[in-house]
Symmetry: C2
Subunit: 223 residues, 2 copies
DNA sequence: TGAAAGATGTAAGGAGGCTTACACTTGAGA
DNA sequence: TCTCAAGTGTAAGCCTCCTTACATCTTTCA
């Protein structure tokens, strides 16, 4: 059965506490869209006038350097909001959003979203909190990048991913995500070759198991 | 004459558009405090339950590594808000806030601040915007750190500082800020020695003039 | 199913920038 | 105004990690 917009809204922590009537209003200003894998929701430079919610699939937010290297800013799960910086004075997108699986998204016009915030003060605090969370995360990544080497950043990435996508299994915490070494390099600001090297070291040391493209953390090196 | 809290509020862009009555409410929940140079407003690990506004002086937000290195997250001017992550689920401070000049600050309890937001939807959007701005800035620093070398980061820092603290003069854009090479290193994630080296290169090339601890940008290498 | 594209393994070489070390200069505060 | 701490200049050595270069293994999809 196709889940309704209202279902997504009512199960989303961001909208928690809103009266049902307002949830319906939110549902009514959302426009559902399908995005196929490898397609972009938006690209850096696009006009920044919509906010999105990911309903199904997975979306990657990233920034590109002039010479084509990529920095992955965020991996999004169903329920996550993105493009929210359009309400923070962003005129043009600074990041790009790409579906890395076939996805369903909901789009809301910036203006309508702001009107909605204006009418629902509690909701606005939720949005503020949400952006604040992202700010804290990014700040801590900045810190890691400056203070820690590739090995340590890789370990932290794995424990972060385990916290978000981990599943307890026989061998340890299994990360339900398929990432290539290049994907990982883009997440920690390193090169594909160095990531391959460091991952294989972790395997040899026994703190990481890899089968296919699935990673399992077997030790609490990852705290 | 001592400027009143209300004066600071009414001239602050964050509070713009608020009815005067609400500005007075805000003033009434603020507690003014004096912080001497080199003292901390808060330290990483402190309970995160207040929001601050800088009235006078200058405050530096920073993060420390285990081995004592420092990353400067932000330099604040009068009118700037800080500690705002306490409304974004931050239980303990992740950064420290240190006065780098004798300063006057205003403190507001988190709970009172949130109540105020709840009653003033327009204001809440302003706060969201504010945090969003900081998020964009930090993201772009993350990007620079990954994609650019020290020389380029140094140039970008100078043009950022010029935009915020610059003053047109005979020779070019003069930055009204006294920074040591160590301060600069902490801002761009480099070492003191490397910063000295690169600054002297820029001086030789003629794009930067230094007298004492004052920097003047003489060319548009800095865009 | 087979070819092409994508992903991984590995190694040599090199560069950027950090560390260490120390001399010299400036400035803050007694 | 003198002293001492703080800041700056400079250089050698080294270390991490990137780049380049291929071989091989896997996945995709025509």
């Amino acid at each position: 059965m196709q889940k309704t917009k209202l279902w997504y809204i009512s199960t989303n922590s961001l909208f928690m506490g809103l009266p049902e009537k307002e949830m319906k209003v939110m549902a009514s200003i959302m426009r559902t869209d399908e995005i196929k894998k490898k397609n972009r929701v938006y690209t850096a430079g696009d006009k920044s006038d919509k906010i999105y919610m990911l309903k199904e699939g997975m979306v990657k937010l990233s920034r590109l350097s002039d010479d084509g290297r990529e920095l992955t800013v965020e991996l999004l799960e169903p329920g996550d909001i993105f493009g929210e910086l359009s309400i923070a004075g962003e005129e043009e997108r600074e990041t790009s959003a790409e579906a890395i699986e076939d996805s369903m998204i909901c789009a809301i016009n910036r203006q309508e979203f702001e009107d909605f915030i204006g009418k629902n003060p509690g909701f606005s605090l939720a949005i503020t909190r949400f952006i604040g969370f992202r700010l804290r995360r990014i700040e801590s990544r900045l810190e890691n990048l400056i203070f820690r080497d590739v090995r340590s950043r890789l370990q932290m990435l794995f424990s972060d991913l385990a916290a978000k996508y981990g599943q307890q299994s026989q061998e340890g915490l299994r990360i339900k995500l398929k990432l290539t070494h290049q994907d990982i390099a883009n997440l920690i600001g390193s090169s594909r070759e160095t990531v391959t090297l460091e991952i294989n070291k972790l395997k040899k040391e026994g703190s990481l198991q890899v089968d296919g493209r699935n990673y399992t953390l077997t030790e609490k090196v990852f705290s």
